[in-house]
Amino acid sequence: MQFFADTPLPDLAPFAGLRAEVRAFLAEERARAGIESWVGSWEGFDRGFSTRLAQRGWLGMAIPERYGGREKGLLERYVVLEELLAGGAPVAAHWIADRQTAPLLLHFGTEEQRRQFLPRIASGEYSFAIGMSEPDSGSDLAAVRTKAAPSGNGWRIDGAKIWSSNAHRADWMIALCRTGDTGEDRHGGLSQFLIDLKAPDIAIRPIHNLAGDHHFNEVFFDGHEIPADRIVGSPGDGWRQVMSELAFERSAPDRFLSTFRLIVELVRAAGPAPDRLVAGEIGALVARLAAVRLLSIQVAGALDRGGTPNTEAALVKEVGTALEQDTPEIARRILAETSAGDRAALIEDLLAYDVLHTPSFTLRGGAREVVRGIIARGLGLR
């Protein structure tokens, strides 16, 4: 049982100059915000940041130039993504659009949709929310009930989506809706639609998480009418589309770098000559991080070659999110013995944020048990 045994690790060394530019940009942005570190990593929603990132050419990097993108490879894009996340930058305003919507429309969208949406994703103008989960359909996406029925020249949407991060701030949602019967494999009859979240008849109700933050929303569609050209691909394509989006969602560096700023501050708190127990904890953590990053880069390489490494992406998510969940526990052990010095307030903020957000790490992008089931299928166990 080997993964990527015969595949050389993609070489990111050619992008060293790009890394340096992104790091310099982030230093400028931190100075602009007057902070020494962002807390909350990719959940920070800052349209200004996204716009400035786009101006530097680091948004829509995988979008062809004719649609306003930079037409770069997925590996070059990967370097920018991991630099942004390792820096803890506030990327939420553009993250979903750049990660999922752009490849979705590139692969499945009409020419008109690509012309309308892709340039505005690449410029940071359009922010997208995900519309997959429903009150009765969390990890079990095949159970989606929100209905899209032909109506006049378009579609009429009835139902509700839930856990849609930043739907209250985003411009558009990609909503997975039922347009027909499930069929025998339960995967039929689903289609995705582009929905304008600014429409007045869409109700968006905030759901605060246990940390008191408002990212989640429930979004209600009560006979919401959309034009015919807002369907992505053909009716019934939804399941295939969602699965291809999830390969991007599950293998990206946001599946193992969520707690990276805390790790950095732990190293700072440990000082240059930590005792052997602290050194051992840090070494074990860094080894896991280094390993999952390489696996993630392999998946990026496979995606770049046009593959659909769904099992491999699930491997990244399994290992990466376990690491993320362990980080605050390891931090607690280290900090029980170590004074954080002049960064004490920052490290407390980072630790509190990570402790309060750990439950989400193994839920978003598919619950851990579902992800393990995908791995098991890839191993021929089901």
Binding site: G283, A287, L379
Partner: protein, 319 residues
């Protein structure tokens, strides 16, 4: 079977290793009422493959294979649970050649304090600095995977040496191979074995446990291959970051794989008759060799802290 040559792709050579050595590695399967060892004919097969001088440059009489290709061959050795010092000899011959020294024929073992490794009586030794050394006297009992061990050498095991670094990367690759093979054997077994009216593979509890181990092994294997491929560069660099991470990650993942493999093979997998222990005993031995995951994680952590918080990301990202 012809020996290795530099034109042979890593995967093709790994196939050759599998083909040539499977009969020898599996010859140790079965009742374990004796200490295992490698036979002369086994070592002859290792030699015929060109493994001992695989990584030695052609100008110095070797096959001149790249380290990445060597990793593929060593992973294949690991997947067989091959107990011979074939990997040790390949790595140590390379290390000697790197020092400008000529690698002697026959099996080579590391003479490193705190490193107890397979110990053929006719072995030559390499010292911690990577130089040919006189073989230490005697033997030191039996290793966990059933082979005669080198004697326990006195000396400090506080710091890593080029030898320890190179051997750790090699063992990491071997563990990755053995862990992958143990999980493969387990996946095959749970598909066949029926209990409660259905194959074990149909139970979610079984699926999930194997999936977790497979994910850790997949990540650790990447780390091990990358560390081995980068050995030359890293031996000249600031410290063994990749080699250390590889030994830590594979030690952890190998442990999980062995645990899952035994759990689902039930009592059958715990018997001497069943070939699983060829892989799991190898994992348990190799994770100890030349620094276990705790030893290496402390060195890695110390190195990371010495470099400072702001160097962590550049180190991980390779620049």
């Amino acid at each position: 079977m012809t020996g290795a040559n530099a034109d042979m792709a890593g995967s093709a050579f790994a196939d050759a290793v599998r083909q040539a050595l499977t009969p020898h590695a599996t010859a140790y399967d079965g009742p374990a009422d004796r200490a295992l060892a490698w036979s002369d004919v086994h070592w002859q097969a290792v030699t015929a493959l060109g493994l001992p001088k695989l990584l030695v440059p052609e100008a110095q009489g070797g096959a001149g294979a790249a380290l990445a290709e060597g990793a593929a061959a060593i992973e294949a050795l690991g997947a067989l649970g091959d107990p011979s010092p074939a990997a040790d000899t390949a790595v140590l011959s390379w290390l000697l050649a790197r020092q400008g020294a000529e690698a002697p024929d026959g099996p080579l073992v590391p003479a490193e304090p705190g490193c107890r490794v397979p110990w053929p009586e006719d072995a030559r030794a390499v010292d911690p600095a990577g130089n040919a050394a006189a073989p230490p006297d005697g033997q030191g009992g039996i290793l966990l995977n059933g082979v005669p061990a080198s004697p326990a050498l006195p000396g400090a095991i506080d710091e890593f040496t080029p030898l320890r670094q190179a051997m750790a990367a090699a063992r990491a690759v071997q563990i990755a191979g053995a862990a992958g093979a143990a999980l493969e054997m387990t996946a095959d077994y749970v598909r066949e074995r029926r209990q409660f009216g259905r194959p074990l593979a149909r139970f979610q509890a079984v699926q999930q446990h194997i999936a977790v181990a497979a994910a850790e092994v997949a990540a650790a294997a990447q780390m091990a291959r990358a560390a081995f491929a980068a050995l030359d560069r890293e031996l000249d660099g600031d410290g063994p970051f990749l080699a250390a991470a590889a030994k830590v990650a594979t030690g952890r993942a190998g442990t999980l794989a062995a645990k899952a493999a035994h759990q689902f093979h039930g009592a059958m997998g715990y018997t001497a008759e069943y070939p699983l222990h060829r892989l799991t005993r190898a994992i348990w031995q190799w994770r100890e060799d030349c620094g276990n995951e705790d030893w290496w994680s402390r060195r890695l952590g110390a190195q990371v802290c010495r470099a400072g918080a702001d160097a962590l990301w550049p180190t991980l990202a390779g620049g």
